[in-house]
Each structure stands twice: as C-alpha cells, then as structure tokens.
Point group: C2
Chain length 353, copies 2
Amino acid sequence: MKRKVAVLPGDGIGKEVMEGTMKVLSAVADRFGHTFEFHKGRIGGDAIDQDGMPLPDETLRICKESDAALLGAVGGPKWESLPGHLRPERGLLGIRKELGLFANLRPVTAFDSLLHASPLKPDRIKGVDMLIVRELTGGLYFGTPSERRNGGDEVVDTLHYTRSEIERIVEQGFEAASKRRQKLTSVDKANVLESSRMWREVVEEKAKAYPDVEVEHMLVDAAAMKMVQNPSHFDVIVTENLFGDILSDEASMITGSLGMLPSASLRSDGFGMYEPVHGSAPDIAGKNLANPLAMILSGAMMLKYSFEMHDEAEAIEKAVKEVLDAGYYTSDLANGSTKALGTDAMIKKVIYQ
Amino acid sequence: MKRKVAVLPGDGIGKEVMEGTMKVLSAVADRFGHTFEFHKGRIGGDAIDQDGMPLPDETLRICKESDAALLGAVGGPKWESLPGHLRPERGLLGIRKELGLFANLRPVTAFDSLLHASPLKPDRIKGVDMLIVRELTGGLYFGTPSERRNGGDEVVDTLHYTRSEIERIVEQGFEAASKRRQKLTSVDKANVLESSRMWREVVEEKAKAYPDVEVEHMLVDAAAMKMVQNPSHFDVIVTENLFGDILSDEASMITGSLGMLPSASLRSDGFGMYEPVHGSAPDIAGKNLANPLAMILSGAMMLKYSFEMHDEAEAIEKAVKEVLDAGYYTSDLANGSTKALGTDAMIKKVIYQ
Ligand SMILES: CC(C)[C@H](C(=O)O)[C@@H](O)C(=O)O
Ligand SMILES: CC(C)[C@H](C(=O)O)[C@@H](O)C(=O)O
C-alpha cells in the first residue's frame, strides 16, 4: 500500500526523534511491501522562525492532503516571551482544533524490563496496561471568554462543552473498552462542576449501548490518587481535556519515563495525528540523548489506527520490547546502572536488533 | 488559656475520628493547663437529615462564635441522588466560602516508619516534607456562570479570579516558604489559561518582596509527574483551587495513606477550620477501622495556626510519630504485615503510648 504521511518535527528533540521514526517506518515499509511518502511541514518555534507564525497554512494543507500526520514536539525558551497567540503551543492547539482531532488516545504500558526505572514499586505497576482517552478540542482549552476584565482586576477562563462533543468522546471510550478488558472509568469532578454532571449523564446514557462494559465514575482527585496507589485498577479512562492532560502526565511515571509514551489524536474518519506525550526537552536537544521510543511507538499507533496495518504495528512494538528486554536503554531509563545508548544507537537497535 | 472550638463531625468516619481528636485535645489541655470548650454543629448529610440543608445557619453561628473549627468529613451514598444544592459537599464548599477560608494548607510528610506503606519506592520519598498551599474559595469551584445552555445542548463552568484573590494566596505561599526551606513552586497552566498567566504575573511581582525565596513556575501536568518522580523536589507549592485539589490527593500517596493528611483552611485573622484531607469513607464507617491520625494532626495544626500553641502542637506530632515508630498502624497502613489497630486503640496509643 502507498500512504502519504505529513511529518512535522517541530522543535528541540522533536527533530531527532522524528528522523529516527521515519527510518523505522521506512524499514517496516520495505519489509511489508508498502510505500510511505513523507511530506515535511513546519510547526511551533520552527515555524515562528521561518514563517512568522506557529501554524502556517502550508502545514495545514500538507496535513489535509495526507493520510495521517506525525508530530514531534513544540516549544522552547527561545519563544517563551512572545505574546500568547504567537507561542509554539498555539501551533499545537491550533492544529488539533483545525483538523478536528477530538480524541486523544494515550496508552500506558508497564514494560517488565523497565520496572526498575519507575519511581513506583514493581508490585504496583507490573502488568499495567491502560488507555487514557482524553477529549482534545474542548473544555478550558478552547472555551471563551478567556480574558482579563475590569482593567486587569479580574480574569476568567471558560470550561465549555456541547453535549455532542461529550457524546463522541465518551463513545470512543466505550468503543476502546469494549475491544479491551471491558472496563471504563469515567473521570470527572461532578461534586463541583456542572460540566461534569452533564458528562456523567452522557456516560450513563451511552452505557446502555454497551452492556458488557463495566462503567465506573471517579472524581479527578481520587483518580490522581488511584493512579499512584493502584494503577492496575484501570483499563480505559475517559475524561475531559485538562483532566486528561494532568492524569496522562502523571501516568507516564508508571513506565519510568515520559520518553516511553506515544499518543494518537483522532477524528472519526480515520485520519489521525501521532505524537509522543513528551515535550521538546530543550535541555537535551541536539545532544543525541533523547529517547526516541515514544515517537517510534506513535508511528506504530499510526499504522494501527489510520492505516489498519496491524502486523506492521506489532512488528514495531515487538522490536521495542525486545530491545528493552535485551537491556538497552536511553539515559532517561538507565537509572545509573547500565551504560545508556544515544538516540541514534537506540534507533539502530530497534531497526536491526 | 481558654479557647472555644466549633466541632463539626459530619458524616461517616468523620464522627469516629472527631471523637478521638477531642479526647487527644482534652489530654493536651490537661497537660498544658488549657481549657478547650467544644461546641458541636451539624454539616453535610448529618445536617441534611436533621435540618433539611447541608449547612444550617446555626452551624455558621457556632463557628463565628468560636476561635477555630474542626471538621470531620462530609458525604455518602445516602445523599448522592439529591439535587446539587442539597448535597453534603455544598455544606463543605459553603462553609469555606461563608467563613472566607481562602488558604488551604496541606502538609505532606513522609514518616520513616511508613515508607513500607507507600506505593512509591522508599528512596524517592524518604525525607519528603512539603506544604501544598491551595486557594480554596475561588476558581472553577465558585465561578459563574456554571450552567446548562440551549436547552441542555451546552454546558459551561467558569474559572474566575480577582487579582486580589490571587495576591493573598500567593502571599501565603511566600510567607510559608520564607519560614521553611525558602523554595516556592507556583503551579499553573500558563501555556493555555489566561487566569494562569495572570497568576504567574502576580507571583513574579510578589517575588520582589521575598528575595531569599527561590521561585519556580511549573505547569500542572509537569507537576503531577514530578510529584511521583521526585517529590523531594518540592518545599512549598502554591496553586489555584482545582489544581491544588488534584495534586494534594496525589501527594497523599507519599505518606502511604490519605488517612495521614491533615489540613488547615485559614483566613487572614487567625481563624481557621481544620480537617483531614480524606473523605467520609462510607465503606468503613462505624466499623472502628478508620485511621484517626489525619484528624488528630489537623487538631495539632489548629493549636499551631489558630492558638499559637507550638509546644502543644509538637507534643501531638511527637506522640503520633512515636506510635508509628513503635510499629502501630491502622489497617490502611498495615500492608498485611502487622496486626492493625482499630480507631479506638490507635487513639489510646496516641494519648497514653
Ligand atoms: C503543550 C500543551 C499545550 C499540551 C496540552 O496541555 O495539551 C501538552 O501538555 C500535551 O499534553 O499535549
Ligand atoms: C468534597 C470536595 C468538594 C472537596 C474539594 O474538591 O475541595 C474535597 O475533594 C477536598 O479536597 O476537600
């Protein structure tokens, strides 16, 4: 098969991990007889520097003409003092919104060979395999008004959802749960927020169509605690934008490093943008120190979710697991005990191990 | 000295842990020659059942005539299907707002003798001693509008702050940090929220008056991760209402149990309400299983913050530490390995050990 892939490396380590991922995908294409055509676009600080804005039209055009998109990471100190609408993050938030990528899927898996790298005790995380389904284009991230008032004496942000926005993400949660271990935890703050009470109602309604899925409601504070106390409790979590942001970063510690977490941002027609959960890590950028596995695993998610290439995706996931099982780690995972591989060496291991 | 204390046991285990705490405080009063006059009031489900509302005027009156208040916990399945304004939590939110208790202090300390009980590895939590300063009467909790729109097709909640609300809580953060290890982490989501950008500005302004305090800004998602990865990083955290709610529940896992965390809710004149961070735990209520230490330690905070009784507070804290060091635990901390004490036995240990 032939597929067009928009490639948006962005800033910092985004560039390095993207290079490696394109190599891994090309190796998979060779092996399985596919062609992936990569079309590069600029986003974030990279685009600010070259185009004067974080999300140029050209980048959106490339994405719209592609079958899926890969994104590295955006941001860095260089652009931090720019006014809000010109910051690198606006590029990321903008592309999610413009492309309608409302469903952010963040799988969190404890690799047996990485139990040492987690701050959590091995018995708590062994076997953890959860999927966080985060709403990505609504809530406090996009609600208006979001402004100063009374000459700067007051400020408001707005948590806004339409019922159909809640419905479609809750459906994604149920769909995912029904294909996994049939357990859905819906996270909200229904004892305080009206939006959470509506969220809970929608979950209850949708539950009727999935009688085999066990549904549970959990307050976000309790969920933040449970995530540390007993992460194996979770199969699929579905939650709104900001809660999903916080919980998925917290959950990353189960794997020992943010450098291990891939994500998919989907809409209903199969198009998706795939990116690591980590950021651009300016402190280690350009030093061949970045862990490329989150980006590589995001590539695997692209094969699975946008291209229906399940064997191909599994080949990548298997390669990653084998490299880790063989004791090869990047420095974020090495924990002092082993000699760490650089980014390039890790990529080679995944391709040729 | 003679002090009037409003005592609001509330629901579930709130009643049991409050009984014990009054005994501990009376023992302290005897030993140090004070008199504590306890005046009981109703709140939460207890008040719904007897007065038809979660926060009767009578309870507010008792608080206003007292020098400080102790609160147990509110809520339970019995009242969960009531309409929003009649739920037990409204009593809690109402009393915070009515009494103007804007500063919620949640200390998180790793007890050496409890390292086994935490899901985190001992080397990560040993020596952790942080204070979370949470804004308690603003933000998404109280902002309006908070409502359905378009016949239920849309919903909004409002994150609202005035500049002076931000200023006074940020000052509390700086004050606390300047009396501790001189490090303040301000947690926000400034890459998305306008309210967080204003929050950051206020922190920068106030920082000028505290040149000895090292200030750091951290995004809430990064903070949720750091809390697990390296909690010793933190001295004082200052943050808005909802972020503080989430982070403090997450942080509770450092101590091994929510049953260990006390809190103080203060205003500027010394009056405060003191309550455990845990809830009413209906599943174990009335079974003599609850850990009373969070409530007892909240009593110690009352002595320190509202009554300036520092030796007295330390006597309680020391007693708690000694009981734990001697290997006595309630079941939430026992981890299967030791025989657990019941609530009553634990209270006796703290008083007579
Ligand atoms: C960079 C930031 C705006 C973004 C978010 O909050 O969504 C990031 O934290 C993420 O989770 O992808
Ligand atoms: C019961 C609930 C409204 C409350 C809150 O969110 O403030 C609780 O979680 C707390 O932290 O005291």
